[in-house]
Symmetry: C2
């Protein structure tokens, strides 16, 4: 890549007219709505129009437990989509919508990198078509309706101390984590403590990712629980008369966005829920459209296979009824070396020098993590393929070590150099995925809907995480009972734990066993359609660093953006 | 109109392809960016491309001091634009972008009404192209950068008790008016009291309305003052390194939106600043484009002529350098009857029965307000025309009474029935405006840039408001001195007072004299480019009522919006 930044590469790209890309996907132009120059929204009716077309193979891209630097899951997703075209297959990609918090915070944009990018990256990372803003608006309208209900006499007898619904904003702003609202005079509302989460953490965002259509979205919005009344009964958005207006605010946000890669592969970008307290997967409706537009649909699931992929299998696919045909597990030399326990990798800092020395032994020492994440795919009946995402600092012997681990596990693998070489650099991966996905799939969720919530948690903890058991706090026990009593026992569960370990303890590397999962608190995302369990501290509103990206992003004399990465 | 709601009429409308409308305006298709089906953004470069085309006549629509029900300024603006086409002239309309707060609050949308509407009204009133969201994001990024600065060590020595910069959200939410942020643990920020304003009240919105281009916007953003350091010196967005990122967030918001009326007259919808603490006028850039696209550009200024039109003349046109050619003063029977002092009109309630009885005497009794608002246009050298906006409950003798008042003032007038009849119902007004605007204009701002701030205030108070003098609080005196000292003395002033009276006391009807203007507090919108003076309580964050519109707005089985008005 030399001195070219991601933004330089993205800017130099010649975009193909999206209507032509949509035409190749078989989507008629009257089903498209343009937004600016280089993004389209696809109407949901496209799904019905395409229903008779052959179904693509459904491939999810997941990873080993990542370092704080990330292992390039998005670049592999983009590279694989591009590469499938190189081997004569037509692929569509589906990914999440980026949050603006990280764009102006520390991480930068979420459009891939190098020669595996979704473009235009500025549009993708800045507002896109306003879906996140629509989620923010719908979420905060419910908050305003709730506080107005308290102010106007509280006819529903809402217990102010049992309100779980907060507010959201798409910005990194630690000062908003814990606030008191309603101060001032008597006409300025009812004082109470609450706070803001970043928009990606909103249940409305999780709901947008899991809804199967407009009517379904309206109903799910009504089922959102904001807290309880003083007898302990849940209070919903429907009871607050807010769900109708919320659905109206989301009427365009429910339509997937179509962009393209640098190599003109179609990319559906839609919904962006958090990967800990929510599913970390892009939307069902985008995938259902994408599954009728070619030979492959390649999608990405957040964090390691114990996190995003587990929710992909047990929440997203359960809800959509779509069966995956293969899972790509992204592994890197630096991640497996980290799992050896010898090195410490820090966010925003380069790798420690000693990590750059050739050491296939360290890769083998950390390989337990890869083996377990491979198994986590197989647990759901889906064939894994290991994508060895190569970095310029890797040594051939180290890449080969990962290949050996895959071979021993009986799994196909391929080295990917697509960040430097574009789609051609992932052609071997594409062939491996083509073969793996041609095998008959035995996909099945890990537990039935009817299992009690505790059994669901214990199944995931034992089988996916390798825990020896689950410990519930008294509060969690009470909350689980309350969920079962309120008819939420049939929902799937989403376990919010650290993504830095397969366990609930970020310091445990590799594939830890003999530990117990501590469930501190249980909350219902009844609208989105899952119950989530907090196992350790989860930050739902990031802060800005001492040197945030916002301080260097600017506009030059010609109105061009500078400093965005 | 019978039983048809505004939404019914708007839905039944057949829209003309906007590209064809733009073609009639002389705007090439490569200067347009589509957003969804029925809105375009116009690139700023269109202004340069159109610079050689003949300049349209520039007409501002203002009004008498309104009742809480509003006097139909937007419907007259739309009707006049449509009517000009009926008399063989090509007109473009420019109006403000609606805030979603009122849409879900009490007032409903802001798209006109009956057969004088901007369409599609759902798109106009819900997100539009996301400009308000971009303003919200830019505003709150600065807030986050400011709180992060405090948290990271406060190198600029910002005085926490002298921070004026708050946060914004486009929702009616009284609970957010006064809040404490930064609670929680040490890593959750610095505790301090602050609050949220509705997005329309953001200085960023005022700035968007007053900027003359992308580079100018970047510079104005840097000049925004967020508070002062402990020595009393202003602290700016530039010093906080936030202005570059803010400009990047606004790079699409600066492009005007193009929609159409029911009769396919082009409407530029752009920026929506508050009418009390800001200018209450749509954007300069939209007007500069619109002024090169036909024979007339018709724009609207918020509230009565003492408010929006005064800022149009003294702030907007001063900043843009564009000269207006005529001013339309909208008058209604119900408003002048109210100014007689005999009746009380309440927001959200029908007129009192006794007001519906025929009484041209009451109209004459309240006519002083109309005479003063006519004079307020003449003060700036601009020829006024009275638009008598007829309601079905008006009596012919009452409409005639308004005409007599106009005649006696030597001003053209015309009865408008466009809400019921469409543009044809404002044809007489269009002819009057055509004649008036053909006279040579003597437009000049009321005071020079170089006048001291106090002299500017006293000029407006005396000449426009009819006050006998100005009383400054001690705080205001100090703040005025500070503004002069900090080099802001050359800015125009924006006097934030009630819009229910030409005076600063909402209970004083007609054209009150012999009162003094009380200036309580002075603040600098140094980025937007004016100093504003608070004269009485100004609510910058509305609340929801007991029965908010949000409770009845919904989506039906077919995904169609219901209950939006």
């Amino acid at each position: 890549m030399g001195a070219l930044s991601d933004l330089d590469i993205a800017r130099a790209a010649e975009l193909e007219p999206l209507t032509r890309i949509a035409e190749r996907m078989g989507i008629r132009s009257d089903l498209l709505e343009p937004y600016g120059e280089s993004v389209l929204k696809v109407r949901l009716s496209a799904r019905d129009e395409l229903a008779e077309r052959p179904r693509a193979r459904y491939v999810v891209v997941t990873a080993v437990t990542p370092t704080p630097l990330g292992e390039g899951k998005t670049t592999v997703t983009v590279g694989l989509g591009d590469a499938l075209n190189h081997i004569g297959k037509r692929a569509t990609i589906s990914v999440r919508e980026p949050s603006m918090g990280p764009v102006f915070g520390i991480k930068g944009g979420a459009s891939g990198g190098g020669y595996s990018q979704v473009v235009p990256m500025e549009t993708l990372n800045l507002h896109l078509t306003g879906d996140l803003h629509a989620v923010t608006s719908a979420h905060n309208l419910l908050s305003a309706m709730l506080d107005n209900h308290l102010y106007q006499g509280n006819a529903l007898d809402v217990d102010q101390h049992a309100i779980s619904w907060r507010r959201t904003m798409d910005v990194n702003d630690r000062a908003l984590r814990n606030i008191i609202v309603g101060l001032g005079s008597r006409t300025d509302g009812v004082p109470r403590q609450t706070g803001f989460d970043i928009t990606a953490a909103s249940e409305v965002m999780a709901l947008l990712a899991l809804t199967t259509g407009t009517r379904d979205m309206r109903e799910r919005l009504g089922r959102i629980i904001v807290g309880s009344d003083r007898s302990g009964k849940p209070v919903t958005a429907e009871q607050l008369d807010a769900a109708g207006s919320m659905s109206v605010l989301l009427r365009d946000a429910i339509k997937p966005n179509l962009l393209q890669t640098l190599e003109h592969t179609p990319v559906l970008v839609h919904a962006g829920p958090f990967g800990n307290i929510a599913t970390g997967n892009s939307s069902i409706v985008a995938d259902q459209i994408g599954l009728r537009t070619g030979d492959f649909l390649v999608t990405e699931a957040g964090f390691g296979a114990d996190m995003g992929a587990e929710r992909f299998f047990n929440i997203k696919c359960r809800t959509s009824g779509e069966s995956p045909d293969a899972a790509v597990v992204v592994a890197t030399v630096r991640a497996l070396k980290t799992h050896s326990g010898k090195y410490t990798v820090t966010a925003g800092k380069p790798l420690p020098d000693e990590m750059l020395a050739e050491s296939p032994e360290d890769v083998h020492a950390g390989a337990a993590n890869l083996r377990k994440q491979i198994e986590n795919c197989r647990l759901h009946g889906v064939t894994p393929v290991v994508a060895i995402n190569a970095f310029p600092t890797d040594h051939a012997s180290e890449l080969e070590a990962i290949r050996q681990v895959a071979d021993e596990a009986g799994v196909r693998s391929a080295v990917c150099t697509n960040v430097v070489d574009g789609g051609q650099g992932a052609a071997e991966l594409a062939r491996a995925v083509d073969e793996a996905s041609a095998e008959s799939t035995n996909y099945a969720p890990l537990y039935p809907d009817a299992a009690p919530l505790r059994e669901k948690v214990e199944t995931i903890a034992g089988k996916v995480y390798g825990a020896s058991g689950v410990d519930y706090s008294q509060q969690a026990e009470r909350q689980l009972d309350s969920c079962e009593r309120n008819g939420l026992g049939n929902l799937p569960v989403c376990i919010a734990k650290t993504h830095r370990s397969i366990s609930a303890d970020a310091s445990l590397l590799g594939a830890p066993t003999g530990w117990r999962l501590p469930v501190r608190e249980v909350r219902a995302s009844a609208g989105a359609g899952f119950v989530y369990l907090l196992c350790g501290p989860i930050q739902t509103m990031p802060g800005l660093s001492r040197n945030p990206a916002a301080a260097v992003i600017d506009m030059d004399e010609n109105g061009e953006i500078t400093g965005l990465s």
